[in-house]
């Protein structure tokens, strides 16, 4: 640990061993006794030694090395002797002495100095007796009172002087008396010499500071009175004290006057007064000393010595004021907040446990990660801005560059590598959401572009030279994936992408971020700038398709233009399903499907200072919307028609746990609630439910599922159901027209999910160019993108017949839940709520259709590590 700013004596290292101090003390005590004897026996010598040498030099000693004096002072030795001899009775000082005690040495000092003039300067016997009495008093105090409180820290007339001049020692000498410290005095000088004086000024008890002020104020007047009063005037005692009194009171008055007038702390003012008194003292004293030790007139050293003392005192003033500033800064700093005792063991363990270090460039944030965390989790938790979308490596919103330590990341899977390829990024790239950390890694959030875009090199050459024009309707992930694959396989054809939207492909899964985030759409774009140009893809933004002329193979646009096609791929996506709700459409009612919707909502909420929001729909998008609105700062209520939330992804137990968590986040959930009308005036003011109750709100967001955009296809005579009906090659009823994504209906269902859209678009593009790929529907994997939820749901979450098996486990303490649904020995569905590390293995096992019957017993016992190995095996096979 650092040396404290103002160490107490127990924190200092001794300069000399205690025995050496004892020896010095013995010498000084003997010298003091010898002095007393000489004062009694041979006063002239004793007086010369005492007043001529000792007293002129002692203030300088107080000033330079006060601790030295306090260790060897004969009075202290006398006071501490009973303690060393075991005679001390260790009483505490009476309260009244503790309250007024400091006035005793002040009064004694102010009384003794003038008395020099009339008695002690000239009367050796009197002085000798005085010193002996003081030694005896110090001893008596030592017998009676504990520690040094019987004399040194309470009554010694030199104590006030020492507190003034000893507060910033040039040489710090550790207290060698108090072994151990018994805490006998408040703001003890011997305990902490640097702050004892300041502590008095800062004390809760204002009198302590006031006594210091009185004494500091008195000093210059006292010195001036002493050296301007001649002993030979024949004045009586009263006149002498009267004169001293005028000077002293003048000084004290000046102190309090200046203290009131000048914006300098009292402690600082006391330092100035102390310095002036010292300078005056030596101003007068050097010539007298010169006279005493020699008769040279004028003494050569007087002026240099005066200058030296003035310079020294100036240095002392500066040092003391600086120290006061540090003290004030330190004292004013807020009290540190310590941790409860339970923390120690846990934090010790955390500090010493091996943790892989992840460094985020360029700011070199160094995170001691928990092994198994994804880079995305680490970066997000750290608060460095990073985008996120699917959290499955498919959307491409979170590429990072691995600068160092790639071998300490979990290997990339097929989907992740396909995404990196689509983005045209270098081999150093990882999707942060997929890379789990096992050792030291350095990453940068700026991915590198691939030197050569991974295009036609590894794919079949163009299959059909007849195909010159390909038109894609829609620029969602299905449309752009299709265009990308067409271009890779057919460098020669024209590709036109027509879209109603005003923006290039963006991360639709992340549009809720547009509600609470700061970066608007800019950060959601998925393809690098220049991608469309580089790949010679013509995009028609903000352009509607008015008709498809299948005879002429032309697409008519709302602008009156038309474009020819040899192959047409329909990826027009879907829009929000809007059930009949009276009043829906009033300002303040929204759906959330496109970036535009989210940005309008954010704009509206700001403009009208919305406070409350109601979201109708407890599905994935509804809950993510609710979370976004909550992060934006609104009070959010979610209405769910059914008996639990996320009915497609969770069973009842999982739904209950999730509901509890969301409520913990501050989102209100109302189950079995149906909105029947929106109240508006003219803006939304409330929502009325089927049971007649009304919820007040400023915003109403509807999230009740999707309706595929099939109208144009239907009018063109293509076979449509809910969506455009396709076969497993993604062909529609017209062999040159394909469909993929939300607009396509395969085997009677519209998937509505990103991974299916990507795969369908790939198959559609391949087959449009004459290939023969089959789309295989895989169990859908979904995650709820709400911080802290850690939910992965795969396939069917409930057994559909008695032959199927459910294995469910709940960890009540940590509110986690996991479940497998097994059919014919294979996992067909799973819920992982709070098990992020298990997810990849379970997903891998589901996709691979692994027969888990050999490990059924372990799975039933809750040991799912075998599935984790599944993931590793799959990845190793890939690698």
């Amino acid at each position: 640990m650092d040396r404290p700013l103002f160490p107490n004596f127990m924190q200092m290292t001794p300069r000399l061993p205690r025995r050496a101090w004892d020896a010095l003390r013995a010498v000084s005590f003997a010298a003091a006794l010898a002095l007393c004897i000489s004062l009694l026996v041979e006063p002239r010598v004793g007086l010369f030694l005492f007043w001529g040498l000792l007293i002129p030099l002692v203030p300088l000693l107080f000033f330079l090395a006060p601790g030295f004096w306090r260790n060897v002072c004969p009075l202290a030795t006398s006071n501490q002797a009973p303690r060393r001899l075991g005679l001390q009775r260790s009483r505490s000082l009476p309260a009244v002495v503790r309250a007024y005690g400091f006035l005793i040495p002040v009064a004694a000092f102010l009384a003794l100095v003038p008395a020099r003039k009339v008695l002690f300067d000239s009367n050796g016997v009197a002085l000798g007796v005085l010193l002996l009495v003081m030694l005896a008093l110090a001893f008596a105090g030592g017998v009676a009172f504990k520690g040094k409180s019987g004399w040194c820290s309470s009554f010694c007339p030199l104590l006030p002087v020492q507190r003034v001049y000893g507060q910033t020692p040039f040489l710090v000498v550790r207290n060698s008396h108090c072994e151990p410290c018994v805490g006998c005095a408040k703001n003890c000088y011997d305990f902490n010499p640097h702050v004892a004086q300041l502590a008095d000024f800062a004390d809760d008890d204002p009198y302590r500071g006031a006594y210091r002020k009185i004494f500091a104020g008195a000093l210059p007047g006292l010195v001036l009175a002493f050296y301007t009063t001649s002993a030979g005037t024949g004045w009586g005692i009263l006149e002498m004290y009267g004169r001293f009194g005028v000077f002293v009171l003048g000084g004290i008055g000046a102190f309090f006057l200046l203290d009131s007038l000048i914006r300098v702390s009292s402690a600082s003012l006391a330092v100035f007064f102390g310095a002036v008194a010292l300078d005056l003292y030596y101003w007068f004293n050097w010539p007298l000393l010169a006279e005493r030790i020699g008769d040279a007139e004028p003494a050569w050293f007087v002026w240099p010595a005066r200058a030296a003392v003035i310079a020294l005192s100036a240095v002392w003033v500066v040092r003391t004021l600086r120290k006061e500033r540090r003290f004030v800064e330190d004292v004013a700093a807020p009290a540190p907040v310590r941790l409860g005792p339970g923390a120690d063991a846990v934090l010790d363990e955390a500090a010493h446990a091996p943790r892989p270090e992840v460094t985020i460039m360029p700011d070199e944030h160094r995170i001691a990660a928990v092994a198994g965390s994804t880079l995305l989790e680490l970066v997000e938790r750290h608060g460095v801005p990073i985008e996120a979308g699917c959290r499955m490596g498919m959307c491409g919103s979170d590429p990072v560059c691995v600068v160092d330590g790639a071998e300490h990341l979990s290997p990339a899977g097929d989907e992740e590598r396909a995404t990196i390829e689509r983005l045209g990024l270098a081999g150093t790239t990882r999707m942060a959401c997929c890379a789990r950390v096992s050792g030291a890694v350095t990453i940068s959030l700026e991915p590198q572009r691939a030197e050569h875009a991974a295009t036609a090199a590894d794919v079949a050459p163009a299959t059909d030279p007849e195909i010159e024009h390909v038109v894609v309707i829609g620029n969602g992930i299905a449309g752009i994936t299709a265009a990308d694959h067409i271009r890779r396989r057919h460098p020669g054809c024209t590709i036109d992408v027509v879209t109603r939207e005003r923006y290039h492909l963006y991360n639709r899964m992340a549009i809720t971020r547009l509600i609470y985030g700061r970066s608007a759409l800019q950060s959601l774009y998925l393809m690098p700038e220049g991608w469309y140009e580089d790949n010679r893809i013509t995009t028609w933004l903000n352009t509607q398709v008015s008709a498809i002329d299948r005879e002429a193979r032309r697409v008519s646009l709302g602008t009156g233009e038309s474009i020819p096609y040899d192959r047409l791929i329909l990826t027009a996506g879907s829009r929000n399903f809007v059930p009949p709700i009276a009043g829906f459409g009033a300002p303040g009612s929204f759906v959330l499907r496109e970036a535009e919707d989210a940005m309008r909502l954010r704009g509206f909420a700001q403009e009208h200072r919305s406070r409350r929001a109601v979201v109708a729909g407890g599905g994935l998008l509804g809950l993510e919307t609710a979370y976004a609105l909550k992060k934006f700062g609104l009070h959010v209520t979610v209405l769910e028609l059914g008996a639990s939330v996320l009915r497609r992804q969770l069973d009842e137990r999982g739904g209950t746990l999730l509901k509890r968590y969301l409520e913990g986040l501050g989102i209100e959930l109302v189950l079995e609630a149906q909105a029947v009308s929106v109240e508006a005036d003219p803006r939304v003011t409330g929502v009325t439910l089927a049971d007649g109750s009304t919820i007040e709100t400023d915003l109403f967001v509807l999230s009740a599922g999707i309706t595929p955009n099939v109208e144009i296809a239907h009018e063109a005579g293509l076979e449509t159901g809910r969506g455009v009906i396709v076969d497993d090659g993604m062909r529609t009823s017209d062999p040159v027209i394909f469909a993929a994504g939300d607009a396509a209906e395969y085997k009677g269902s519209v998937s509505g999910l990103w991974p299916s859209a990507v795969e369908q678009a790939r198959v559609a593009a391949f087959n449009a160019l004459g290939g023969d790929e089959r789309y295989e529907a895989v169990p859908p994997v979904t995650m709820l993108k709400v911080t802290g939820v850690e939910l992965t749901s795969i396939g069917r979450v409930e057994a559909e017949s008695d032959d199927e098996l459910e294995l469910a486990f709940e960890d009540v303490a940590e509110q986690r839940y996991r479940k497998l649904v097994l059919a014919e020995g294979r996992i067909v569905g799973a819920i992982l709520l709070g098990y992020p590390l298990e997810a990849a293995g379970v997903v891998a096992a589901v996709k691979a259709g692994t027969d888990v019957r050999p490990s059924l017993e372990r799975l039933q016992a809750g040991d799912w590590s075998v599935l984790r190995n599944q993931e590793q095996a799959a990845q190793e096979a890939v690698a």
Partner: protein, 181 residues
Amino acid sequence: MVDELLERRVARYLRDVAAEVPPSRFSEYFAYPGTEAARDDFVFLPDRSKDDWARVLGHGELLRFKAGDLVIRAGDDDRALSIVIDGSLEILLPNARGEQHRYGTIEPRSVIGEMAFLDGRPRAATIRALTDGDILRLSFESFEVLSARHPELGRAILLDLGRILAARLRQANDVIARHTH
């Protein structure tokens, strides 16, 4: 940690009222053996179990710092509560001339950043590492996750921080009262 009120306090102290400093801080300089002031007012989560601390740890992130690193920068929007695990740091505040001044040090096993954590306002002070060390950082979002999962612990954290700030406010009020009467 350090906030505006504190800055005003500092300004005031530096100007002329060293004598008005509350006693609780400098009494540490006179922590005589056996009489160390019990400073329960400023102990965070004094009664929580190891399990609860493990939960706090599990929701935070551990950051390594080197001597000289700026662990917190004044003006940053960084709503996180931090716990110093190892190492010492210093609090820096700019003076009127814009020079950084040390304004107290932070020792291991203490909490920093509780003000910005609660009010979400920019950091008032810069915190620089004096030694190498580790810090546990609990972002506000992570705290929300923690308290959604363990509502009772979340409530305890908030109440405790509130109690500590109340103790500070009392001190500050004492100072102001003494200065104005």
